[in-house]
């Protein structure tokens, strides 16, 4: 079990380089003799390329080459695949259109690259791109999700622009329960499209060594090994052992840096083709146009209740926008990460969900912080809130009444998951106390006295993290296993180098994993160095997403550390003339039981590498161990978020005056880091609820293509958050952890919107609840009242 210096808010080791400007991000790397790539992108959303003439660009100053989609195809580079198969109701496989790294003849979204100019300097490449002569035959674009299925067909492979029509749960039982129910709450809602916007733009540098025929690709990836697997096995860029991918410091990801994109593929391919290091860094406009976007669902739901408010059945129908191509994980987001979460924290006996994934002429949509789970939580916690209004019940009490109880675990939901453990009432009660729910009506009166409106909103979320138990994932269509690897290398002096297949792009693994391994081995965290993000250094790994690093990656490291201790005992036994079974390891010392003989961890480490009197036939020299960990189940972080807002009815300006989050993440290694993750997640959730919206016009032009048009939360848009914890320890991983990276973004949006509708006294408002939207909603409500509706 985990013990000692676990649970301490240790300051982060990695900060030393970041606060001094010594971080090493991809764009900070410059290779000798490198050329620069500038991608030529389509200015239209849907078109045939009728002619392409690169000769003027090729002749321009400093230009090394101009490469096109035709050359990519000629060189046999494959399509960028989507890795998760989803089957439709009728058993047919999802329809997946090819996704060429550079478009050759058809353009499917605005910003799609169809050529790349390589030149000595970026300025020369950019200037020469202006000289690429291209003609398009423009076609009508399909933009809105709602109209996608009736619009012109985008890909020949995808009839009705529909990738799949998927279902989960018992249809007939659910419909019957709804038909016979005392009350049914109905809701249509939109989950607004978001643009991730990690502050570090994506970047890639391809470097080819013709002597060894090896490509090294430096790139902003959350999962370099997975990128290598896809680029070699599927895209056929190079044999796997001839491609090394290094993801150095990465400046935030939130999902958007999981996926395999055109640019890194092309840069690596071109580096070999031209035998030249080639660098590309996105400018922010390119990030907006081409980073995979998030969310973008349109749903209808029905929640059936008996006369006491007990939930009987939930039915959900969702249209999910996939954009112009199926991105790496896109198909899994609105299905396995969404439909499976619709039971929430409630013991609703019947849940049935149908999801149709549709294509549009917009940037691909894929996992963004929370991925599917925020959409599920938003739908469920909105409809429950409205149900409370309609049933005239306290929203907190309606939730409480329907909670799965501690004694019900393990709990099999009607939508495939088996929750291992939780205590939802504990989180709710703690949150109610922290938010001073009892004092709310007095606060509301005070606001009203000042001409303001005040509202409070709840969200009791659950998520499935620790992606993923491979057997479950495989049965759900995943193309790969989702375990994690870890390696603990004890150096001869007793310091330790830890290799992990997880990847940190802000999560603080260098500290958390050091705490974990140091405490297992009874050494100082200063003696532990954590290395990640380089396929040349560690065996393999699945990377970081789905709040999986500690529960899966950390568990692999614990297994490896346990093996170190086991081998250490053998060495200690040999050195002290005892049986290894008689050696205890405690606090960094190997002791012979019932004696005063002992050796320090450092002595054992040294002995492992100086095996002068070793029984070599029984004991190998060295002290390095590896482990792979595949979880038995998902983990289920859960909690309650409570938001309180105050609204100026004259302007619609809404302030979040109090935000309380109580989460159950299982065992926590570093509470400071965990709180930071919660803060960041809530900020993104409030951003979705109140500010952010990725908008295309009817021709498929992105209207929110810069920080001036896409409104992300700034320091003065947000309050301080009150964060609290409750704990039930995950039952099936050795760390006991559940994951904390996404909870904030999952739990917060419905809490905010529920608070706003509560303040306004209305049933619905769409995200983002901007001042204009809030003001308009209030005007409409007032007029309806006046008309006596």
């Amino acid at each position: 079990m985990v013990a000692k210096n676990i649970g301490e808010p240790v300051l982060r080791k990695e900060d030393a380089r970041f606060i001094t400007g010594k971080g090493n991000y991809t764009d900070d790397i410059n290779l000798r003799g490198q050329a620069h790539a500038f991608f030529v992108r389509a200015p239209v959303a849907r078109a045939m390329i009728t002619s392409l003439d690169c000769s003027a660009a090729e002749a321009a100053d400093g230009v090394v080459a101009v490469l096109t989609g035709a050359q990519v195809a000629e060189d046999g580079l494959g399509s960028l695949p989507c890795g998760w198969m989803v089957l439709s109701k009728d058993g047919s496989e999802m329809k997946q259109p090819p996704h060429p790294p550079l478009a050759a003849d058809r353009i499917n979204y605005s910003g799609e690259p169809f050529a790349v100019v390589i030149a000595d300097t970026l300025q020369q490449a950019r200037d020469a791109a202006e000289l690429v002569e291209v003609e398009f035959d423009e076609l009508d674009a399909v933009v809105s999700v709602a109209d996608a299925q009736s619009g012109p067909q985008i890909h020949p492979e995808v009839p009705d622009n529909t990738n799949y029509d998927w279902e989960l749960g018992e249809r007939d039982e659910t419909l019957k329960a709804i038909e016979n129910a005392h009350h049914v709450t109905r809701l249509s809602l939109v989950n607004n499209r978001l643009i991730p916007n990690a502050i570090e733009p994506r970047a890639a540098i391809g470097d080819y060594n013709s002597g060894t025929d090896e490509i090294t690709l430096y790139t902003t990836s959350q999962n370099p090994h997975l990128a290598r697997l896809v680029l070699t096995a599927f895209v056929q860029l190079a044999p796997e052992h001839k491609l090394r991918i290094i993801a150095p410091d990465v400046g935030g990801g939130f999902g958007s840096k999981i996926f395999i994109y055109s640019e890194e593929t092309v840069v690596a391919w071109a580096a070999r083709k031209l035998d030249l290091p080639i660098k590309w860094t996105a400018d922010r406009s390119e990030s907006f146009l081409t980073d995979a976007h998030g969310r973008d669902h349109v749903s209808e739901a029905e929640l059936a209740m008996d006369e006491n408010g007990n939930f009987l059945a939930l039915r959900v129908k969702t249209l999910a926008n996939m954009g112009a191509y199926l991105s790496t994980f896109a198909s899994a987001v609105p299905t396995y990460l969404y439909g499976t979460l619709l039971a929430g924290q409630y013991k609703t006996p019947n849940v049935y969900v149908e999801v149709q994934a549709v294509m549009t002429n917009t940037a691909p949509v894929d996992a963004y912080r929370g991925a599917g789970r925020p959409e599920a939580t938003y739908l469920l916690e909105r409809i429950v809130e409205i149900a409370a209004q309609e049933m005239n019940m306290d929203p907190a009490e309606l939730r409480r009444k329907n909670f799965i109880q501690p004694e019900d675990f393990p709990y099999q939901t009607p939508v495939a998951l088996e929750y291992d453990i939780g205590d939802y009432e504990a989180s709710l009660d703690k949150a109610l106390a922290m938010a001073d729910y009892a004092g709310f009506s007095a606060r509301r009166e005070a606001s009203v006295a000042e001409g303001k409106l005040r509202g409070i909103g709840f969200s009791c979320y659950i998520e499935a993290c620790g992606l993923a138990p491979s057997q479950v994932a495989g049965s759900l269509g995943a193309g790969v296993g989702l375990w994690e690897s870890g390696e603990v290398r004890v150096n001869p002096t007793g310091s330790v180098t830890v290799m992990t297949g997880s990847h940190s792009h802000g999560q603080g693994h260098e500290t958390t994993f050091a705490q974990l391994v140091a405490s297992q081995l009874g050494i100082s965290i200063d003696d532990v160095e954590v290395i990640h993000g380089d396929t040349g250094k560690m065996d393999f790994g699945m990377g970081t997403y789905g709040s999986r690093s500690l529960s899966v990656g950390g568990s692999a490291l614990m297994k490896a550390a346990d093996k170190i201790v086991a081998k250490g005992k053998k060495i200690a036994g040999h050195l002290m003339d005892a049986k290894s079974e008689d050696i205890d390891f405690d606090d960094g010392e190997f002791k012979v039981r019932e004696s005063n003989l002992s050796k320090t961890f450092q002595e054992i480490a040294f002995a492992a590498y100086v095996p002068h009197d070793y029984p070599l036939e029984e004991l190998e020299p060295g002290l390095t161990e590896k482990a792979f960990y595949d979880p038995a189940n998902f983990t289920y972080p859960a909690g309650t978020h409570i938001c309180e807002v105050e609204i100026d009815p004259d302007t619609g300006v809404t302030s979040v005056v109090k935000f309380t989050a109580v989460d159950d993440f299982g065992t926590i290694i570093n509470p400071m880091i965990v709180e930071g993750q919660v803060h960041g997640g809530i900020a993104q959730g409030i951003g979705q609820a109140m500010l952010e919206h990725g908008i295309y016009d009817e021709t498929g032009q992105l209207q929110t293509g810069s920080f001036m048009d896409y409104c992300m939360p700034r320091a003065d848009d947000l309050p301080n958050f009150d964060v609290g914890m409750t704990t039930t320890v995950c039952t099936h991983n050795p760390v006991g952890a559940k994951g904390c990276g996404e909870a904030g973004a999952i739990g917060s949006p419905p809490a905010v919107i529920n608070a706003i509708t509560n303040a306004l006294g209305v049933r619905e408002i769409d995200m983002p609840a901007t001042p204009l939207n809030v003001w308009q909603t209030l005007q409409n409500a007032t007029h309806e009242d006046a008309r006596g509706e």
Binding site: T20, N197, I199, G506, G680, A683, P713, A715, L718
Partner: protein
């Protein structure tokens, strides 16, 4: 066309020539190899590139290198060393005011400027003022709360 320029960067005199359209941010990163100053946008909105120009915070993507002729420029690399950190650097670490670290150099440079300006103008630097003062800098990771705390903490130390 290349234009010769010289300025003082982190206390060192530098003389180079560079194209007229080169931003100070590019100059610092590409010509001087000081990669602690980051570029996060193309519309002057993110603040990741913030440096000090003659003692004031500026977005280095919004100043041409040639405009800094003869100026004193300080970047994140020039405010402290590993063993002798600036109080703002110490506070960012102590308050967990950074996650991925990409916005951090700009935040620290803005934070220092905020504290200096407030003490010069003799205004109280409360939470609201700090949040207002940081609104030119985006952070997508932290939710700002710990950054605000870091600036407040450093402000106290810089007073003492």
């Amino acid at each position: 066309m290349s234009i010769p320029i010289s300025m003082t960067v982190n206390g060192k005199q530098v003389s180079k020539s560079c194209p007229a359209n080169r931003t100070l941010g590019q100059f610092i990163r590409e010509d001087l190899g000081l990669t602690g100053t980051h570029v996060g946008c193309d519309t002057s909105q993110c603040g990741a590139c913030t440096v000090h120009l003659n003692g004031d915070a500026v977005k280095a993507c919004t100043v041409l290198a040639v405009q800094a002729e003869g100026a004193e420029v300080t970047t994140i690399e020039g405010i402290g060393t590993k063993d002798d950190l600036h109080p703002m650097q110490t506070a960012f670490r102590a308050c967990h005011g950074l996650q991925c670290g990409f916005c951090t150099p700009g935040m620290i440079m803005t934070g220092i400027d905020l504290v200096n300006t407030a003490s010069r103008d003799n205004v109280e630097l409360g939470e609201a003022e700090i949040r207002e003062g940081l609104k030119g800098n985006y952070c997508r990771c932290t939710g700002y709360q710990n950054i605000v705390r870091a600036v407040a903490t450093a402000a106290q130390q810089m007073e003492d």
